[in-house]
């Protein structure tokens, strides 16, 4: 693995500095509201990075990913409420369930192209939300319909995934994000990554080169859904209260897709950049305009998206990368094989 070898010293230094800064932020910033917002930004970057496995690399546009966030949140929570299972265990269970659901949905839908796949995923996401809103109880598990679930306060501990301060949540999601970015890098530089890109771009040519395109898309879907569900459990544990509209809704699905498209889908750091730019906007509009103009952030996102798609169809990561390379005095990419991959360690936030 040459993740660190190809970087020049300035890159490594900057990367290290950014990482140290990220880990020190909760110590520097005292305001818990600020920490919460930062945590939500990283959470959005995490979810979008998970989405990227399908939306960025498999050449389709999923618009129902909140379904898997919801599956994660509900699974870990009902298992905790009913059997007292640690949310960490529930997190894995939710991930596995989401991967299974993702594959079942993917088998018929991943064969569709363009808008048809997007529409199918919207339908699934919305269908699941309506279903959950109308169910009070499944077997021994309380679902509570539209009023959602409240997680009982327990002792603040790692096993319980509950903490009095916001700091630990920040660190947990930061580590989750870094791991997902590492996984993205590894995937892009593996047979799966090459096959996904090939199948997404020219399915017919890919098949002629021995690639069973549908199989690789399903693998990407399973990975993406599994990881997305982990993000759902995280959200549930941080907020300790959620209801179908808050995690199952189209709002979240769209927000993820907006972040990816504006930041740059199919690149490692595009989702991170997108989340850094857009999530603060949605938080601010929610705080100040939440009562008068709910959903204002989606209108703003839409406008931004139109402008970005017009001038930077590959997302803002492209000019950002150019600017960064100019700043560190690097004239060209070291390898044309995988330009995105070479900056993995350099621009994390």
């Amino acid at each position: 693995m040459n993740l660190l070898q190809k970087q020049n010293p300035l890159h490594l230094l900057l990367t290290a500095a950014i990482l140290v800064l990220l880990f020190l932020l909760p110590v520097i910033i005292q305001s818990s509201t600020m920490i919460l917002i930062l945590t939500l930004i990283i959470w959005a970057a995490y979810l979008t990075s998970c989405w990227n496995f399908v939306g960025g690399f498999a050449g389709v546009l999923p618009l129902g990913h909140s379904a898997f966030v919801g599956i994660g949140a509900y699974t870990s929570t009902v298992l905790f409420q009913t059997y007292g299972l640690s949310p960490w265990g529930g997190m894995v269970a939710g991930g596995l369930l989401a991967a299974l659901v993702g594959v079942i949905i993917g088998i018929p839908t991943l064969k569709m192209r363009g808008a048809y796949f997007a529409l199918a995923t919207i339908a699934v996401g919305e269908g699941l939300r309506v279903l959950v809103e109308n169910v009070k109880q499944v077997g021994p598990f309380k679902i509570n319909g539209p009023s959602g679930l409240l997680i009982e306060l327990s002792e603040s501990s790692f096993t319980n995934f509950q903490f009095v301060s916001k700091g630990p949540y920040y660190y947990i999601i930061l580590v989750m994000l870094l791991l997902v970015l590492l996984l993205t890098y590894l995937m892009m530089n593996s047979k799966i990554g090459y096959y996904l890109a090939a199948g997404g771009e020219e399915p017919e040519a890919a098949e002629a080169l021995g690639i069973k395109v549908s199989r690789y898309k399903l693998i990407a879907m399973a990975i993406s859904c599994f990881l997305t569900a982990l993000g759902g459990t995280f959200y549930a544990q941080m907020m300790l209260y959620f209801y179908p509209k808050s995690i199952f809704g189209l709002d979240l699905s769209y927000e993820i897709a907006f972040i990816a498209l504006i930041g740059g889908r199919g690149s490692i750091l595009g989702p991170v950049l997108g989340a850094m730019l857009l999530k603060p906007v949605s938080e601010i509009t929610r705080i100040y305009l939440g009562d008068i103009l709910p959903g204002m952030h989606l209108i703003i996102f839409g406008l931004v998206l139109i402008v970005v798609m017009r001038y930077q169809p590959k997302g803002l990561i492209v000019p950002a990368r150019r600017l960064f390379n100019r700043l560190v005095g690097k004239s060209s990419e070291p390898s044309g094989k995988n330009p995105e991959a070479t900056i993995v360690t350099t621009e994390v936030e």
């Binding site: 090459y194 890109a197 017919e204 098949e207 080169l209 021995g210 044309g336 995988n338």
Partner: protein
């Protein structure tokens, strides 16, 4: 047992019979040309062998294994790789990336795939272009890339669908030795082509197809002298002027 045996393959699209009871035998290490006027069914026959279509009836046996009805990726995994008449590079990716996708057919390791791909690019004079995004290649380069990608899967039978169409005569002349070298390395080749100069000099044997039917087969000299072939290409009145 022939290397590739096409037995009475028929492909119908509704009422149209694009390929009608075509039979073909290919021995290992041959270069076989398939010619015929536009719309004769050459590419459809090709698509049947490569798995893009499954034949309505008939069988296609490759090294004793039935290919008819198999999916394109299975056929590629069996050792038969095709190129496309309208080239289909992974446009946003580099030449090396494109070729590595092919090389992954025989390895799971990134480094190994890269080594194999680089070797092939050297052989096809694309090494200098390895980092170029394939969208910005010229047509002859794209045709070469199409060939490189197919070769990277290490096929034993290579199906070339008009790899020289659209090239200038000088570029065709450059392509011929490349194809010969691939063949000399042990790859059997079936080639569909309109450029007669190319197909005459390359092919060991030629099959001529018209209206979906095979009308002639044999070595290049015999085939061009065949009255049926002259009729198909030039019309009835020209047949009489021949001996």
């Amino acid at each position: 047992m022939p290397f590739l045996e096409v037995n009475n393959v028929t492909k119908r699209f509704g009422g149209l019979t694009a390929v009608n009871e075509v039979a073909m035998r290919v021995e290992q290490r041959e270069i076989i040309g398939v010619i015929g006027p536009n719309g004769a069914g050459k590419t459809t026959l090709f698509n049947c062998i490569a798995g893009a279509f499954s034949p309505t009836s008939g069988s296609i046996r490759f090294q004793g294994r039935e290919l008819a009805g198999k999916k394109p990726y299975q056929i590629c995994q069996a050792g038969v790789t095709r190129t496309f008449q309208v080239v289909k590079p992974f446009a946003s990716k580099s030449v090396l990336y494109n070729t590595m996708v092919g090389a992954f057919a025989k390895t799971n390791h990134l480094h190994e795939a890269e080594q194999r791909a680089l070797e092939i690019l050297k052989k096809l004079d694309l090494y200098d272009k390895k980092d170029v995004i394939s969208r910005s290649l010229t047509l002859p380069e794209r045709k070469r890339l199409e060939l490189a990608r197919a070769l990277a899967t290490e096929p034993t039978l290579l199906l070339l669908d008009e790899v020289m169409a659209g090239l200038r005569p000088s570029e065709v002349t450059e392509m011929l030795p490349t194809i010969r070298r691939i063949n000399e390395a042990g790859v059997t080749i079936i080639i569909v082509e309109h450029i007669m100069q190319a197909i005459m000099s390359l092919s060991d044997r030629i099959y001529v197809i018209n209206f979906g039917k095979k009308i002639a087969e044999g070595n290049p000299q015999d085939v061009v002298a065949d009255p049926e072939v002259i009729k198909a290409y030039l019309g009835d009145e020209y047949v009489a002027t021949q001996h």
